[in-house]
Symmetry: C2
């Protein structure tokens, strides 16, 4: 006889697929769901289906949006493009309320170790945006690690010949850490003190 | 402008309702869902709805079941009843494969601090089972904390006059800890060395 009855085992298995969630946490989450009212559980399930149905990638910057083009691309100053690795990095920067320009989400960084080259991330799309003109500065806000630095160097060599300023967040960010987990003050400072590559 | 678009914010909010899940973890879980295929996300949502639809409480012991009466109550030796606080405690004990009797889940313990009295937990149902006859021993496996001990003492005073042996898990379990988190060896020993109250 198995320890869990089938519906509970199945839900625990689903929760175990979430990042950093072990069997014990997954069990606790499953019991929480069992203890919810029917309408609460339905809300939860609907939120999962809803996010899959409604969330798309912005055709311009690659960030999450409910429309073809995201609100940031529609409303903000297009003279500056801040290049980040992932959508969660946009969230980290937006929380500061410092930056007034637009973004470009690469959905990855160049990583020879993992076999990810320039063509595997959204660099072509970035160049297309730059070729449309009007961009004065590209801020490369990839993580301050080997892959992030390599990507920044690659972009600088590509973009500078176009006569566009390329900057990188200043090295107030602790080396080897992830942008998402940098505290706001450090991140804010790094943004203000960004330096031309 | 809010930081998250509505469907993502809504899903993060749902994940934040799970025990021990903060905003950062909830965001990570939400991004994981966004990165899933449609069918994977549908499976996840279905598992949540399924658990609410299928999981009921056993009419006899109060444990989780898909039927009116759980498999343990149907198949196992009814001369011994092991009394626990919550369904997750049944899981912790079943993992040992030591115990061959049945369970009784109280769904709580007596706690004057929280205003929970004997009538608020499934003690009446336990007495009804005992009055049907055939039970030789009641093992009280509530947590070894103040409320668990108080509940055990209360049950012992109630059940002993019926001529039924009442035992409690031996004090190998670290005091103040929770049964669910006790390591298997300690828990197994405590089970074997259970003592009459």
């Amino acid at each position: 006889m198995q320890v869990y009855i089938e519906p509970i085992g199945r839900l625990i298995n689903e929760f175990s697929k979430l990042p950093g969630v072990g069997k014990k946490s997954a069990q606790r989450y499953a019991y929480k769901i069992i203890g919810m009212s029917d309408s609460e559980a339905q809300e939860f399930a609907a939120a999962i289906l809803n996010v899959k149905k409604k969330v798309k990638y912005c055709k311009v910057c690659g960030n999450f949006t409910e429309n073809d083009v995201c609100d940031i691309c529609k409303e903000r100053d297009k003279r500056t493009i801040c290049v980040v690795k992932e959508p969660k990095d946009v969230i980290a920067l937006e929380k500061l309320h410092e930056y007034k320009g637009v973004y470009h989400v690469l959905h990855g960084v160049i990583s020879p170790m993992e076999g990810i080259g320039p063509d595997d991330i959204r660099i072509r799309e970035l160049l297309a945006r730059l070729n449309e003109g009007g961009v004065e500065e590209v801020i490369v806000a990839t993580n301050p690690d080997v892959e992030g630095d390599a990507t920044a160097m690659y972009l600088a060599r590509l973009i500078k010949p176009l006569g566009i300023k390329v900057t990188r967040l200043s090295r107030g960010i602790p080396i080897g850490s992830e942008l998402e987990y940098t505290d706001d003050v450090t991140l804010s400072r790094a943004f203000i003190e960004r330096k031309e590559v």
